[in-house]
């Protein structure tokens, strides 16, 4: 009996933690119970990207797209959809206009996306190399090993215009050329999977959904640069990605796609995994190399660059997961094809992890040059709870904010740098008017200070000083001079830090001073936080007109600072108030005022 239906169950970390694995097992069991075991194939795939609505189950061939599926829905899906052919209406995605979407095509989240990096995510089973191969997997490797010289491979990359997706945007072909031309008996290829920005999960999802594409690209990189060993440096907090990578490596070795004499070509290449302990600074290439060598992960001055003297003193090229995932497609479809997508200086697509105050959070892949407005409103579905847009934080702790005035700027490496932010690895955190910009910046600075390795003074001391000033401002003790002081410290850190961690730590501050100076001044001069996030600048009081004396707030108050009898307006003792907001949340009459 032929296979009639496929059930694709999302197996990304997000959906897995919402019981996707149980759904997967239940679907298999239900199919067997209904005697369909040999007609229905249940596949666990990589991330579909639409994490907001996970867990996701897609049924083929009719492409029904089920969202927020629960384990107990499996029986219904099989009994109704697979046996009787009636899609389960209640589980289909509904657009904001409450129109039921029949397939992915009807979902605006997917309409503006082009999937190159995520081409196999949500389609193949990442733990089955045969499925990867069936999707033109290892075709690029075949082409490279048997039809192209290393120079031709690099030439193709040059044509494609591919630039590093880790953040800085260094041309990949140039990196490879530099490594290749350094004389050495051994060279190394490293895949940087030490993704650590808060809210970013592009690389993790790529490795979870399509590990072979990265392994294939690393082997191509080895061939092009004359390296025979590769390392994937991945943080230990990504257990699922590590597991899938290990499975993929085992399969590749067994099939002769990795190891000695690959496919009979005479080329040898082997890859090992190195687990990082989750230090943010280890995403910096020199610190990463130190960590692989077994030393404490701290950056070392450049030059010499890793392409000259890297891992164990040998020429080493380090590329990000997403950069690698683009490479097999570039080889298969040609550099010119890739260069036709994107803007003048930035080619191809970029994967973003869209999170924060947005309706459709998830993983999106869009052509370079897409505007922020398209990402936030068309794909992301706008701001949550009908709030107003304030800014988008891009580039994580190294980036900055993009205010509403930049919503229509096409996103590429240059435009983001010009706006005082950076591409970074691709985290986009959407802020609404309910977020205090200083509070957000304080969060990032806290992160950078925590993660500073402490080796160089500008980063170690400068970061701490900046954080102290920010804390002062949020407590209502800031002065106008503090703004200039922060700019000065930031300026020094940018120039004098040993690595980019220190060099970019002030970015969130500098970019917010540029775009949201009024909010800083409001905190400093008026001692006011318009979003109500800075506790020390907020006072709670009770509107005597509206208060009916129900006593709810008095009972909720953890420090008993609300006084008043039944049916008599209450009063808050501001000297005892800890500003927890419990009274505000519990009042049903809008009588608690925040100012």
């Amino acid at each position: 009996m032929a296979l009639n239906n496929f059930c694709l169950v999302c197996g990304g970390t997000g959906c897995e933690s919402s019981k996707a694995d149980e759904i997967f097992k239940n679907l298999k069991k239900a199919a067997a119970d209904h005697g369909l075991a040999d007609q229905v194939q249940v596949v666990k795939t990589g991330c579909f990207g639409f994490c907001e609505k996970g867990p996701i189950v897609k049924i083929l061939p009719d492409e029904s797209f089920y969202v927020e599926v629960k384990p107990e829905d499996a029986e219904k899906i099989v009994a109704e959809h697979l046996v009787k052919g009636r899609p389960v209406q209640g589980l289909l995605y509904k657009t904001p206009e409450q129109v039921t979407a029949k397939s992915e095509e009807d979902i605006e989240f997917y309409q503006k996306q082009i999937r190159i990096v995520l081409r196999n995510c949500g389609i193949i089973n990442p733990e089955d190399v045969q499925e990867y191969i069936a999707r033109d997997g290892y075709l690029a490797l075949e082409k490279v090993l048997f039809e192209m010289s290393p120079e031709q491979v690099i030439e193709e990359l040059k044509k494609s215009g591919l630039r590093g997706r880790g953040g800085a945007g260094y041309p990949t072909w140039l990196k490879w050329t530099n490594t290749r031309k350094t004389q050495a008996d051994q060279r190394y290829v490293i895949c940087n999977a030490d993704e650590g920005d808060p809210g970013a999960y592009m690389d993790r999802s790529t490795l979870e959904g399509d590990p072979h594409s990265v392994l294939e690209a690393m082997t191509i990189a080895g061939y092009a640069q004359g390296a025979s060993r590769g390392f994937v440096y991945i943080r230990a907090e990504y257990p699922l990605a590590i597991h899938r990578l290990e499975v993929a490596m085992k399969q590749s070795r067994e099939m002769g796609l990795m190891g000695k004499n690959i496919l009979g070509s005479g080329f040898d290449f082997d890859i090992e995994i190195r687990l990082g302990a989750g230090a943010f600074v280890c995403g910096e290439e020199t610190a990463l190399i130190q960590s692989i060598e077994g030393k404490r992960g701290m950056p070392v001055p450049k030059p010499p660059f890793p392409s000259v003297s890297g891992l164990w003193g040998k020429p080493t090229s380090i590329n990000n997961v997403e950069t690698f995932a683009n490479i097999p497609v570039i080889i298969n479809k040609g550099g010119d094809w890739f260069a036709s997508i994107g803007t003048a200086t930035s080619k191809g697509t970029k994967v973003f992890a869209l999170t924060g105050a947005i309706n459709n959070s998830g993983l999106v892949e869009v052509p370079m040059g897409t505007t922020l407005r398209e990402i936030v409103y068309d794909i992301g579905g706008g701001i949550k709870n009908g709030k107003g847009f304030k800014a988008v934080q891009s580039g994580g702790p190294s980036g900055g904010v993009l205010p509403a005035s930049l919503l229509d700027v096409p996103i590429d490496y240059e435009s983001l740098t010009k706006a005082g932010s950076m591409m970074g690895s691709g985290g986009l955190i959407v802020l609404s008017e309910a977020d205090c910009i200083i509070d957000v910046v304080k969060f990032y600075l806290d992160f950078s200070v925590e993660e500073s390795c402490g080796k160089c003074a500008p980063c170690r001391i400068g970061g701490r000083k900046l954080l102290n000033i920010l804390e002062k401002i949020t407590k209502g003790k800031g002065t106008v001079e503090d703004i200039a002081t922060m700019e000065q410290i930031g300026f020094a850190m940018q120039r004098a830090s040993l690595c980019m961690l220190g060099g970019t730590t002030p970015n969130p501050i500098l970019s917010t001073i540029r775009f949201f100076k009024d909010e800083y001044l409001e905190h400093i001069e008026n001692k006011k936080c318009r979003a109500g996030k800075c506790k020390d600048l907020v006072t709670y009081s009770i509107d005597k007109e509206k208060c009916i004396g129900c006593t709810v707030c008095a009972r909720k108050c953890p420090v008993n600072c609300i006084a008043g009898d039944r049916k008599v307006p209450h009063e808050i003792d501001a000297s005892k108030c800890i500003k927890c907001g419990a009274c505000f949340d519990s009042c049903k009459f809008g009588a608690v005022l925040v100012s």
Partner: protein, 133 residues
């Protein structure tokens, strides 16, 4: 593994994979799978379609299962939509007819005359009580 083995494996998996992903799916086969359709053998017809398309290596077809189309007297019913042909509903489609549809309608662009049904749905809609002007 040799290069030849890799290519053979890719070739083998490609067809199944094509059915899983989009790409050119310009031809649509819509099979009515209401209770009556299933009772009348819609599943056999559906399997025959899949089987025949696979064996003829026709890849640009998407097969959709839908609920009852309302022609309970001539189940199983199947609608075919493709470029260069009018949208046609076929009735009484058993496995053999399904195979014939693939041969004549889809590959040769010839109607399977003795199973054609008109598509009156639009006319019926116009006469729905309460919706008349």
């Amino acid at each position: 593994m040799t290069l030849q083995e890799l290519r053979a494996m890719r070739e083998k998996g490609q067809q199944a994979m094509d059915r899983r992903v989009g790409g050119d799916k310009s031809i649509e086969i819509i099979v009515g799978m209401g209770t009556c359709g299933i009772a009348a053998g819609a599943k056999e017809a559906l399997n025959a379609f899949i089987d025949e398309l696979n064996s003829k290596d026709v890849r640009n077809v998407v097969i959709k299962q839908v609920g009852c189309m309302g022609f309970c007297h001539s189940e199983p019913t199947v609608e075919i939509k493709m470029e260069g042909m009018p949208d046609i509903i076929y009735g009484n489609v058993d496995a053999n007819v399904a195979r014939t549809i693939v041969h004549s309608h889809i590959l040769e662009k010839k109607l399977v005359d003795n199973h054609v049904f008109d598509k009156p749905a639009l006319d019926i809609l116009k006469r729905t009580p309460g919706k008349e002007k």
